[in-house]
Amino acid sequence: MKAVPIFIFFLLFLVSTTFVGAQEKTISGVVTDQNSVPLPGVSIQVKGGAEGTTTDFNGNFSLQAQVGAVLNFSSLGFKTQEITIGEDDTLTVMLQEDTQALEEVIVTAFGRKLTRNESTSNVVSVGDEELQKSSFVNPQEGLQGKVSGLTVGSVSGVPGSAPEIRIRGSNSVTASNAPLYVLDGVPLNSDDISGSSSTTSLDPLSVINIDDIENITVLKDASAVAPYGAEGSNGVILITTKSGKLGKPRYTLSYKLGFQNRAIRGLRAMNSEQKMEAVEEAYWNSFGPEFGNGQMTSRDELHDFALDHSVFMAEWERQGRPYTDWYEDLRNKNALLHQANFSVSQGDEKSKFYASLGYNKTEATYIGTKFHRLNGLVKYSRQMSEKLDIDISATASNVDQDIILENSAYFDNPNNGEAMGSPWVSLYNEDGSFNIGPSFGDFTSMYNIPYNVKHNTRNNNVVYVSTNDILNYKLSKNLIFRSVLGLDYMVRYYKTYRNPNEGDGVNPNGDDSESAMRRYHYTTQNSLDYSFKIGEENNFRVTAVQEFSKYKSNFLTGYGSNMASEDLTNLSGASANYTANSTFSDRMSMRFVGLLNYNFNQKYLMDASYSYQGDSRFSSRWDSFYSVGLGWNLHKEPFFENIDKIETLRLKLGYGITGNAAIGRNQYQALTSISRYRDQPAATVTGYGTDAKWEKSRRMDLSLDYSFFNGRLKGSIGGYYNTTTDMLFQVPLPMSSTFLDGTVLRNLGEMDNKGFEFDISADIISTPDFNWNISGNVSLMSNKVTKLPEEANIISASRIVSQGHKVYEWYLPEFARINPDNGLPEWYIDRTVNDETTNDYTQAQRNYIGKNALPTYYGGLSMRFDYKHLFLDASLFFQGGNRIFEQWLTYRQSTIGSNVNSFNTSVDAFEGAWREPGDQATYARFDFNNSSVSNFVQNSTRWLHNGAYMRLRDIGIGYSFDQKMLESIGFFSGIDIVVRGTNLWTWVKDKTLKYDPEVGNSGLTTLATPPIKSVTMQINLKF
């Protein structure tokens, strides 16, 4: 309704500005886009004359012009159209989208918008349409395969858990490798906020509703990231939320429903009969005549011998051989995904408005885990005067995440239960009630997880509110002052209640642990932006920015046990062992940044930046960072300008120094922490102290952007060479240094990351009715630690960081074979010397394997077909050149008798184990005592797998209802229906790798919820 006075005002304006000549007539009409949606703000000029107007918010216009005059319709993002005035007094003009022009504007550091023709940065932008294909709750997941140089590693399949995003691989060993996230210009703290490190993680970005995101821009190269200086080394991800659009109110309601299951079934555990056979086999090999001590002489004695020695087997036999398939009992089949969003957008010349409400409920593929989110966003921008405009946004979000113990061999971890749970015990009694207590616990160490899922609580609840206020003031025509204030406030409440009947809660007779973390963060940013020209062709833009951020965290936790009743699950119901704790930490970061953008007639380009940055995490607080970028728009040169098949050819060169400051707070001081002993304070040295400073990264980029045949073939090709210097290293101290944590942080060594990235997009067929587009990207990457003193080598159980090798290169004893004569594993003593083998694991040398967990190639391939109102799209992700190492082998793959008897092992071990002389086995024989058998599951190349895989990341088919048909119905301006599948198909190169190949960047398989596949259906209603 507010629109009415504006409309009248507009008409008056039109009338007052157009003086009428006698020979002219009034032309009126409407301008729309290809979908017949009215376009406001289209500029209409009479060619060769001074007259002109713009369309109103309904796309209507009216002006005076002579018959035969040519009207020029132009609008940003659309191809300009010219129409000669004929007899008709009314015109309906449909403007064609100019996809090329739309992409021209890019967002760079500190929200500066530049056209591609002006910028030397290498940035990739992913729009909302692409992002909304994702069925995940955090926005980053949708980037897999869409951005060259970017990978997404899955650590847990529980919705809301933090994925590992890496841009151009791994640039640091000790400091974080996570990119910097900037939401609407304000840096975000993206550290895991889950209440416990033993449980599923919680990504702070999961408070954001994907539907509210306009686009995500990934900054990769030196000139793009250097303005963020000390935090730019890992790349920068700019998230821009939606704003109101010009035009009358537009409402969108979308609803998505889906079902999820795990993408890959994973390593299977034995069933009860297989377990019996395996345990008996182990007894035979340990106590039989061939390899054992001869307590048994014939296999006829075997079953009785096993029953005599295995309490577990005897009980199982007594109960009539029940079988529990833990996998089936623990999984949440067809986990629900349920999402609804409602948004409204409106705008006129002076103000724009956007508001949205979102609801998301996504279950995980194990029972008892789910993610719940309710959020709202309001954005309002208003031009207060010709000089001043303000943007205000406010968002509030509540995330509720029911989580599980993950990543380690907890008896309550479902992923562990699936593998280690004995198939001989029953989770349920015959009457259907839970089997708990001695009748369960006496025969397995595992807990009755379904019971605990039902009776325990593990929950993260986050309340997030944030506001982001921007003020722009035009000091003069070309000088703009901009001030940004971002505040965000997050409270994460975590609760663990454990019941007194089963599991960890038995001994404390039920207990409750609760913690609240309050994170408050603000950023103030002030900048001056000045554009000027020297002569006609020298265009300058200089920007000065000051930014200060402060991050504060308060943490409060309480614990109590001996609960009064099972109905009382809060601390108020506890009666013993009360403990409480609180901590506080803060961090400050400040930067002063100068940016220069210059171009000569848009032909020769230069970007330069300098930033002076301080961070409270280092003892020497301040350092400086810079970058220079050069660009050459070849297509503006006369020798290319005349070739009309070539629209863009842009050569760009960049060089810069960035930093990485992502280390723990207060680490620079030698510190002691306080615990207690006999209720007195007890001090433990927890910080060795360090004078380490920023890790630096020297970055070089060369790239070429191209666009041919009216933009139907376009993309870029480029290479980079990053050298990380002054690497932050947790240098291992001898254990005899007496410092318990065992490492000290130092700047040491250098590492190279080199790579090529190709992006291509081709409109193979482009007709009004049928479109076929293929796009893809390929990234090649190589990594090497070029300098590192030997004593700083980081040698973990399976990996090493040392000079001349890849970062965290696999470093393992090399497995040779299972000896066909006796079923014992053999390892090469030292394959670099000869092929001699041993069955004594301790004699086997560890060697460099030449591969690490980082893929050397990866990429995505997308395809889209549009036929009239129907579309079909699909995108594929692939990677390779990496190796994946299996962990938790003792619990999952062991053939040692006591493990198999107490827990379980894999079907692969059952089928692959050596049984009799001559067997070409892949697993050691089952045995209780043999040390070689027990060492079979020690780390070796036996458990290293080729990590190459290909995955159908998503596939979708959709239908948009015909505009004309909708008009006849009325009310709706658009209806789309989309059915989409995520991760529906996966090809894994190494057939012995039974785990999902999408693992975290460590390259290690974990005891966590595996990645999911899903099928969703979505309907969007616009009115």
């Binding site: 160490s445 960890d504 001994n507 200060f548 930490s585 291992p732 005899s736 240094s737 005592n929």
Partner: protein, 473 residues
Amino acid sequence: MKSTLIRFFFLMVFVLVSSCEMEPTLADQLDTQIKSDKNIRSFLDGTYRQMVNFRYYGRNMILAGELRSDNTYSNGNSGRMTVMSRMQLTPTTGDVGDLFNQIYGTVANPNIIIQEYLSGNEIEGEQNNIEHMIGEAYGIRAQSHFDLLRLFGQQYIDEGENLGVSYITEFKGDDVQIPRGTVEENKSQIYADITAAIDHLKEGQSSQYSQDKTNFTLDAAYALLTRVAVYFKDYATLLAYKDEVEDLIARLPVTEASELVEYWAQSTPGKASIFELSQSESDNQNIDGISYIYRGNNYGDVQAYDSLIQDAEFEPGDIRISEEMMQIDDRGILRNMGKYPSEGQQLGSDNIIVYRIEEVVLNYAEALEETGQQSNTGKSASDYLNMITSHRNASPYTSSVDMDDILKERRKELLFEGFRFFDLQRTGRDIPNVDPSTVNNHELVPAGDYRFAMPIPRREIEANKQTKQNPHY
């Protein structure tokens, strides 16, 4: 409009100025500087806390003495301690690294304290308290290095170069790569630290801390001395402290048979105790503690060999095999019930007894027996052994006892407390394979075998270029 703008610019300037604060708040931690007696107390209590950690006295040190012996084995119920039980330790075995790292960790605070004391800087506080605490620091340093030596030194293996361990006397010294000393060097360093401890503890006898058995005291220093001396069969050194040891035995009575169960069950140090590491219901090692591995619902990995009662030659009626002390559970497993019983409390709440008078009595008996000497009051080795048996409902020894008798009584009295391996080790006996049909058993380990020294953990080998690995690892 203008005034709004001016106000706005003031605001901006304010934000700029106020935001220049770049010093982080340090609210939860202290720096490592010692300033007062109160600081020393916290640093020492921090050390005791580290000692009671399950990687050291809270569990693994005890199990290193029990599993590698003829007393107990790990059934692998929760997958714990199986490698230790099979005596197949390697430089990468987690429990080995844990022991090594944790024990060295307990040396950090004592060194910080001693360094500060030796620097001559003034420390605020009462002198007698400070003296006592300096004594404690020296005592713990000796104890920790002695334990490292017992586990990792080459004194009782046939091969090797008689290497001991790196003896650390500085925290954050200029050089953190300290080579292993010889066993002899270690021995004299340990004795020197014990002597220093005794001197300072004597100075601090009027301190309140001298009465608290949950910290190291003068009595503990003498007890440590007897343990070190018998370990090296250095009975002369022990007998040089004859007066002090006899005084100790006179002051602290051997626990009565009727009170033995209660002695282990009580939550505060009993009369017979010399040094205990404190734990409580709200502050303990929880599932990682020693109680869980002996008896825990889901753990209970460490069980006695079925034949233990016969093998150790317990007599019927001996209080040490009473239902309260040892029991066959409903799964047929012979278990330690009486030691670390967490009676009436949450499992794992027991103090860890490091020294009690019975051990001192046995140490003294051994010194008398091996040297053929008598006590100041004319008592012989058998009299001291009988101080134990007479309080355990067991028959007395006749007057002529030998080393086998001493070992037999030690095994019975100190069962499940982590002594057996070290007794077999230092007296040059084999570790028998008690029952080859159990899971995770170890084969017979003959005297002098390389397995009498644990491997030096790999991280130490890699980070300390000066150190050396033990033979065969």
